[in-house]
């Protein structure tokens, strides 16, 4: 059962790729349907886990990755259904399928330690994950912007020219998505800070390790710096277009690094 979302995410990725290459509308609808099915089955699994342990399954990196995939899938489906633009689906669904390998390999739910029994913890995780999902979309928009930009600059109009929306649309959407992500990141970090100060007296060694020196927290702060700069640069010094696209790609690479390698191997504060 826990493999079903993985299979559906992977099939959706294949269908999006086929749609991108062949531009057949019915394949496009199939891709959307498959992704919808994947998110639905994923919702079911998260629901089952919630019933099983009595709280939202957000404890530990694996659960966080799973929730991130779920949020990104929902956010992407929302964007696709409101804009009728499927070109981003190739990259997004590939990312979803790839990341879902982690929860698929490790389907168990971690128990919630006493120290995490606070609504602030749930809010912190959800805000952070939503911010990361936004940054993932921004990265995809940035990558496609650069691909299209290169084709137009090189005066060789071909593959991407026929398939992607205009540079302006990609750029404006990138700006919006980063703004949304930044707001949630700020909220997430702030709530995290408040919560960490509340649990300083807890005997849990992980609560003791909550400080800006911990890799996970440090890298999150670096992310906040990068996206703050991206927003500032867009508004104040006109870093739109290609520079904004590169920044959003760079930002998301840092997010991914923080998520998987740092989250699993380096942090002492977030290894639940």
């Amino acid at each position: 059962m826990h493999l079903l979302p993985l299979i559906l995410y992977a099939c959706a990725a294949g269908a999006y790729l086929a749609h991108f290459a062949g531009r057949d509308r019915s394949v496009g609808r199939l891709a959307t349907g498959l992704l919808g099915g994947a998110v639905l089955s994923h919702t079911f699994i998260i629901g089952m886990q919630t019933v099983q342990v009595g709280h939202a399954p957000l404890v530990g990196t694996t659960a966080a990755v799973s929730a991130f995939v779920w949020l990104l899938g929902l956010a992407y489906l929302y964007v696709e259904l409101t804009t009728d633009e499927r070109a981003m689906g190739v990259l997004v669904s590939a990312l979803l399928a790839l990341l879902y390998v982690i929860p698929a390999l490790d389907p168990g739910v971690s128990p919630r330690p006493a120290v995490l029994q606070s609504p602030l913890f749930t809010l912190h995780v959800l805000a952070m994950l939503f911010a990361y999902a936004s940054f993932a979309l921004a990265c995809v928009l940035g990558v496609t912007y650069v691909l299209l930009f290169k084709e137009i600059k090189a005066k060789h109009l071909g593959y991407f020219y026929a398939r992607l929306p205009s540079l302006q649309v990609l750029d404006v959407m990138n700006g919006r998505v980063i703004t949304i992500g930044w707001i949630f990141l700020t909220i997430g970090i702030a709530i995290g800070g408040i919560w960490a100060s509340q649990v300083q007296s807890s005997p849990d060694p992980r609560a003791q390790a909550m400080s800006a020196a911990d890799p996970k927290i440090l890298v999150a702060l670096v992310c906040w710096g990068v996206y703050s700069f991206a927003l500032f640069a867009r508004r104040a010094i006109g870093w739109t277009g290609r520079r904004a696209a590169w920044l959003s790609a760079l930002g998301f690479v840092i997010v991914l690094l923080n998520f998987v390698p740092v989250g699993y191997f380096l942090t002492k504060s977030h290894n639940f």
Binding site: P165, Q168, V169, G238, T240, G241, R243
Partner: protein, 441 residues
């Protein structure tokens, strides 16, 4: 009794432009040619398609129809028939359908896949249909053609990519800016090319067109024509700063826009993209301007090579488009042939229905005592009985494809059921199935 569908016409493939210009049915409005043709009383159904690249008449008429229509081509335009006859082509039955389907799909166009022709075919059909000159065959023929046109455009890449320089430029602008309606356009130069491009951009409903030329009077003249604004040459830098799209078409020998000059205006623009289209020969814009971030520079050669690539890509889609046309022609031909037997089928049904009615009338005294529900039941049962009896023969008849077999069957049925002896009164449904009589407007 075979339905004779055919097309007579000339196009850019068979006639030089001078001849095409003198054979123009659209001159007197869509109704005039139709009325003139109808007054000859030779066609049961007709559609006149007249564009700048073709003049064609699709008609359903008797065996001498093609000749009469060829003569109509000559008479209507007051040309000797001998001047036309070498350029006219006649397509019959399935060939006529294939021809129209290819035309509607843009496969027979001068620029393969061009989108206008489908609209022109629709307008020609509507003009004829509104005046009552179309019926079963042309209705089906043209509606199928519209479907073929749409299908070919949807399922193949035949209409993809701009195939003229101005459309290529506009498509590019759309890929950079998305929506063109809020954009400012600056045109440098006030000559013929500048004007032509200006007209194209104006049609895209850009926000404002500014024209700058070394002679302000010329700029003002063009600005009036394009509803734009003239800017003195000295204010070029300001105008450039405000523009999103710049068209350069001056006769200058030296570059008008230099890298240093454009770089200067890009800074206060804060990276807002600038699309420069250099259609001047020799070039108005230094090539290195295109290296600047957020500046997209295309010259006329670049646009032409895009057009050439698109044309190549379109022609590689031809095979798939022809396959769609072929499939639809097969379907249409099957339907067309099955129609030849229809008058016999209709007569047979009417004969059976007449017998049923006669028998019911004869039994009237015996049925009079029955309650109304039982009467209705009797009526229903007899109707069903007739329908059942005729179902298989009708299907069998409609599936006959061979012309000679159709006439053999018709003859046999006519004789066996004495269908021609005593024509029964025609029911409403029978009248609908028949070709409407020619209207003489």
């Amino acid at each position: 009794m075979t339905t004779r569908l055919f097309a007579v016409g000339l196009s850019h493939r068979t006639a030089p432009v001078e001849l095409r210009e003198s054979v123009d049915f659209s001159r007197g409005g869509p109704g005039e040619a139709l009325a003139a043709l109808a007054s000859r009383g030779i066609c049961q159904e007709m559609v006149v398609l007249s564009t700048c690249n073709r003049a064609e008449i699709y008609a359903v008429a008797g065996p001498d129809g093609p000749d009469t229509i060829a003569r109509f081509f000559a008479d209507y335009h007051q040309l000797p028939l001998a001047r036309l006859s070498d350029h006219l082509y006649v397509r019959r039955a399935d060939d006529a359908a294939r021809h129209l389907f290819r035309v509607a799909a843009g496969l027979d166009s001068l620029v393969v896949g061009e989108p206008q022709i489908l609209g022109q075919v629709k307008a020609a059909y509507a003009a004829s249909s509104d005046r009552g000159h179309t019926a079963a065959v042309t209705n089906r023929l043209f509606h199928t053609a519209f479907g073929v046109g749409k299908r070919v455009r949807r399922e193949t890449g035949i209409s993809e990519g701009a195939v003229s320089v101005s459309y290529a430029a506009i498509a590019l602008a759309r890929k950079i800016f998305g929506d063109l309606t809020g954009l400012n356009v600056l045109i440098l130069g006030a000559g013929g090319m500048a004007k032509l491009t200006g007209i194209h951009l104006k049609a895209q409903q850009v926000r404002q067109i500014t024209i700058a030329s070394r002679t302000l009077a010329a700029a003002e003249r063009l600005a009036r024509e394009l509803d734009g604004r003239a800017a003195p040459w000295g204010d070029l830098a300001d105008a450039l700063g405000a523009a999103d799209i710049v068209i350069t078409a001056t006769g200058a020998v030296d570059p008008v826009l230099t890298r240093a000059g454009v770089q200067e205006v890009m800074r206060p623009r804060r990276q807002r993209p600038l699309f420069i289209i250099d259609i001047a020969v020799p070039r108005d814009v230094e090539a290195s301007v295109g290296d600047l971030e957020q500046v997209f520079l295309y010259n006329i050669d670049d646009l032409q090579s895009i057009v050439k690539e698109n044309l190549t890509r379109r022609s590689s889609e031809l095979e798939r488009a022809e396959a769609i046309v072929h499939e639809e022609v097969e379907n249409f031909t099957t339907w067309l042939q099955s129609r030849d037997i229809i008058p016999t089928v209709v007569a047979l049904r009417e004969r059976f229905e007449a017998i049923r009615q006669a028998e019911l009338a004869r039994l009237e005294p015996k049925l009079a005592g029955l309650p109304p529900e039982a009467r209705a039941r009797v009526d229903e049962i007899t109707k069903l009985l007739v329908q059942k009896l005729l179902l298989t023969p009708t299907e069998q008849l409609k599936s006959v494809r061979d012309d000679s077999l159709i006439s053999t069957y018709s003859d046999a049925l006519n004789r066996l059921f004495a269908l021609e002896d005593e024509p029964p009164a025609r029911g409403e449904s029978a009248r609908k199935a028949r070709v409407s009589p020619l209207r003489r407007d």
